[in-house]
């Protein structure tokens, strides 16, 4: 488990959903998306993980992008959620609660008598 925001596998799994959620709050460039994800507690997100996701969403028509002139430095590519993006995020929001509840159920310690009995025995059948 990563101290900065969770298991890397979880982060990879929810990165698309979370990036959409961040962009639903307003258009942003890549680094701003990464910063908002970090301050939300999702963990530090490297550009190498974020840009493939943003580009794929753009190819899917979920995001659009436009270049903004940088002050003295290189320009920034600003991403904006499209109508299709809002629809996809809405679908993800609807599906999230049942999914999270199912995972939470699965992760909750099993307190049934059968589990207690199984937990009291080692794999070789002996008791601790």
């Amino acid at each position: 488990m990563d101290a900065d925001g969770g298991n890397p596998d979880w982060q990879r799994g929810v990165l698309t959903t979370c990036a959409l959620a961040v962009l639903a709050r307003g258009s942003a460039h890549g680094y701003a998306v990464a910063q908002q994800l970090q301050s939300a507690g999702i963990g530090p997100v490297k550009g190498g993980a974020l840009y493939p996701v943003l580009n794929r969403l753009e190819q899917d028509g979920v995001l659009t992008s436009a270049w903004q002139e940088g002050a003295g430095g290189p320009g920034r590519k600003v991403f904006t959620l499209t109508g299709a993006g809002h629809a996809r995020l809405e679908a993800l929001r609807r599906g999230w609660q049942p999914f999270a509840a199912a995972v939470a159920d699965l992760l909750a310690p099993d307190t049934s008598p059968a589990a207690a009995a199984a937990g009291g025995r080692r794999a070789d059948g002996s008791t601790p």
Binding site: G30, Y31, A34, G47, L50, Y51, N55, G73, P74, K77
Partner: protein, 346 residues
């Protein structure tokens, strides 16, 4: 002897699916044989245990092959090779195999047209040298380009073209010179077979990422990213500029010392950007279609020319066969440019 029941696929359809999976993994994704075997074995076991067909459990074999390559081959290894699993380290293999197959084809043609021996003229030697130079320049140029070294790719192609022109000029100048001797054609066939065997046996070092681009200055990193996106994944110049600039902007914003701290090796970042998209393969097929189209046009013109000049005969026949061959390759490439295929970026 037939395989034990436990090691058989439940149905012929499943077996065909498994065979396709192995072929796709080996040929298209360059997955090592033991990994491909393991993936096929797991699928076979899952089919037996669940009683359901492989296609239903894992989807189409091509898509599952892409998935297996993504999951089981380290990204550094996948990022070190082109879409066909090749890298400049294969250049000598390609040379030996090209010379061997070309020599075999030439030997058979000589056997049919000249008999057991053929005169060796200075002009024929010049044509041979021109062909070797053209093949080497084209093959090495393509390998370098697909490795993201665009300038080196063009340099090899130009060197090959120069070799062809020089060889053709020499052949023209030497065409009246008498033969130097007679060469037994079976010797040509034997030497060609030896070259093919040598090419297949040549030990290949595994492809590796470019260490200099990852550790050199940031400019080199971005240059390498652009080269790989353009040469290996066939992105348009505009798309390449876009990807490089967005990475550059992110890197500046992040304050990291080097782009590799944010993106890893340039080849790996390039692969991740295109992974899951079938556009690179489509664009590659489109380029092949143009190439085969040009060849078909050339051979088609020679067929018409031969038919008008010499009438029907053996000459016309083999030229027509060349048209049929290049046209079939053109159709295959054109279909590939329109098909949606899974890409693992391997």
């Amino acid at each position: 002897m037939s395989a034990p029941v436990q090691q058989r696929w439940p149905s012929p359809e499943d077996e065909r699916w498994g065979d396709r999976l192995r072929v796709r993994l080996a040929v298209e994704h360059g997955v090592p044989a033991p990994v491909a075997e393991e993936a096929a074995e797991e699928a076979r076991l899952a089919c037996r245990e669940s009683g359901r067909p492989a296609e239903e459990l894992f989807g189409p074999a091509d898509e599952h092959a892409a998935e297996v390559a993504r999951e089981r081959v380290p990204v550094e290894r996948r990022a070190a090779v082109d879409l066909d699993g090749g890298s400049p380290r294969d250049r000598w293999t390609l040379c030996l195999l090209g010379a061997g197959w070309g020599g075999s084809l030439g030997g058979v043609l000589l056997l049919v047209t000249q008999g057991w021996t053929t005169p060796v003229t200075p002009a024929a030697l010049a044509v041979l040298a021109a062909t070797a130079a053209g093949w080497t320049g084209a093959a090495w140029g393509v390998l370098e380009r697909r490795d993201g070294r665009l300038e080196r790719g063009w340099a090899w192609a130009a060197a090959g073209a120069a070799g062809v022109v020089a060889g053709a000029a020499a052949a023209d100048a030497l065409r009246d010179r008498p033969a130097l001797g007679e060469l037994p054609v079976p010797l040509v066939l034997l030497a060609s077979a030896a070259l093919v065997v040598a090419g297949l046996k040549l030990p290949q070092r595994p492809a590796a990422l470019d260490a200099r681009a990852a550790t050199g200055d940031p400019g080199e990193w971005f240059e390498r990213l652009a080269g790989v996106l353009r040469g290996r994944f066939h992105l348009t110049r505009g798309d390449v500029r876009d990807r490089v600039e967005e990475a550059r902007g992110y890197w500046r914003d992040s304050g990291s010392a080097h782009p590799r701290d944010e993106f890893g090796a340039p080849e790996v970042h390039a692969l991740r950007l295109v992974e899951g998209s079938d556009e690179p393969r489509r664009r590659r097929s489109r380029m092949k279609a143009w190439f085969y189209g040009a060849l078909t046009l050339y051979w088609g013109t020679t067929v018409v020319d031969t038919a008008l000049g010499e009438g029907f005969g053996g000459e016309l026949l083999w030229r027509a066969a060349a048209v049929a061959l290049t046209a079939s390759l053109l159709v295959g490439a054109w279909r590939g440019s329109r098909a949606s295929a899974p890409a693992a970026g391997s």
